[in-house]
Symmetry: D3
Subunit: 127 residues, 6 copies
């Protein structure tokens, strides 16, 4: 497959997950300076890895939430909390992951992740 | 529920997941000094959080793998890779999580996690 | 001891440390979604670990400050800076810990922790 | 060399890198409480380490950017992005480092670092 | 460009940097299970990012050393220390980066990185 | 004070804490390559920060243990566990800090720190 096709395939999946407007806003936020990073995200992350079969999208989303809470990356956590709801995860399923975070990454990581989850659930009228 | 019953309930689940011998070995490794930590693990981690319904055990295991790879904790990652196989996760499902680790936590985190996974799959004759 | 009593004992200690209003505000911030995490904090963190004898509360507070600065958790650091002052730590004692942070976790960790400390000392009129 | 002279030498270099006003504002931000940390920064970081020959200042700046992005320290990253421009690094050179961050520390670290870089490039009219 | 060509281009650069034998050993270490990760490394890391012009290879190596020391990844640090020597960095240049690590990521990170550097310098008869 | 005197003062304190043989072994481990880092440790860490009054040495040791467990630095943790015993901390006091680590940095951090503590207590015949 040509790399351009991989990037186009990834961009389509990314927009299906997060909405056209949100993705376009993020792609333009860093202008020309940010183009190579957007290529990494579209082609390699979404075109390749997210596009692979082998795990339901909802399970991938829950793994992403675990990973971003552990890695102390609250901005990216919010993105993937939105993706999780779009992929059909329920607030209760998300919470079970965050309770594992509390025990295995510590209470501060779980507090930060609950804050992010409440914000996203409120935005999406699911709180 | 009395706290002692919570700890007993958790210990039972922990042994079902990792085997009696492995759990007893770990509980004795730190002697009397380690008793309060073993209580935290048995009562709070397994008796409470792992014992909650709301997510299949296999999904919890995949979230744990994501979390331990992100948090740079290879010894604990090995424990939960074994738990994941016991909970019915396939090597392919585990790998999909590790590929998300590569993109979202970086190649060194994925390399370390692949090393742990190969060791555990070899031990369990699933490589 | 019944788990409910452990949670009640912990909540009482937590309120003594941080004040009734602050604790109640935090307990309600994440609503029903946050109840299991609040249970972890009240029963396991305060009812069990903080309630153990063996170290003065002021020494526990200084260890918490060291830990939260090292773990890059500035929101939780602010909570435990307030707890440290309540537990009788002086600004000078807190600073000695932050200077160890500078050498052993790096200047950026110490800068972030000094910012948090200045905010809390100003709030509490101790700067 | 007397330690006071080392601190004075470092402060001079620090001001040359970041400007008198910015350095004085940062030195006063934490008042008397912050004096020992400012001494560490002036004498040990700038007087000793930054003042050593052996690497061009621009290469040191690029290493600092890599380090601060990896260590999840966006406030300090902004400081050293400004220093990098002052030391003659181009936006393109900075970006090459941030693309290594994407692959080796993960996309969220690179996103955060791009956000910091865009802010600093806009401030300095180099975007 | 087709993705296969990107992977082939990257593999060639990777072998030039680390030697045929070392790369082939690493590519086979994780067997079939590890093939998608090796593809990420060959195509995306080496084929794309390392293959970009814009920074000398030696500067990229020094940035990688800073990043891996900050991220607490000593195994990967060793790989890139070898790459740095291959790319023409001197032991003195590497040390200057590690001294920045001491001040900005803390003494333990610098100790760990010095241990890795001594091992690699001894292996390469450059200590 | 001259910097050489600061380094000599620090080296004396460091040897009092860890023993002449252990310190000399560590100072020689990285040869000439490691001299600037040893200067940082002797002059800035021990000569300045550890030499400051304001906190008992035993409290500094407990803060160091909290910090090194949180920062995932088990080799340095072992050094400061030995220092803590030398500074008069009891195994029980050390354990109270490690139980805070369990709740606030997660079970894997506490497991790793217990392993280090058991090793050091056994070495020192205090287990």
């Amino acid at each position: 497959m040509d790399i351009k096709d991989l990037a186009a395939k990834g961009l389509k999946l990314r927009k299906a997950l997060f909405g056209d407007a949100a993705v376009e806003q993020r792609m333009q936020a860093f202008g020309e300076f940010g183009e190579p990073l957007q290529h990494i995200i579209n082609a390699y992350a979404y075109g390749d890895i997210w596009g692979r079969p082998g795990l339901p999208m909802s399970t991938k989303s829950l793994a992403m939430i675990a990973m971003m809470a552990a890695a102390n990356r609250p901005a990216e956590l919010r993105v993937h909390l939105r993706g999780a709801l779009q992929n059909g995860c329920t607030p209760e399923e998300i919470r079970e992951v965050l309770l594992l975070v509390a025990l295995y990454c510590g209470i501060p990581a779980a507090n930060e992740a609950h804050r992010a989850a409440m914000d996203v659930l409120n935005e999406e009228h699911k709180a």
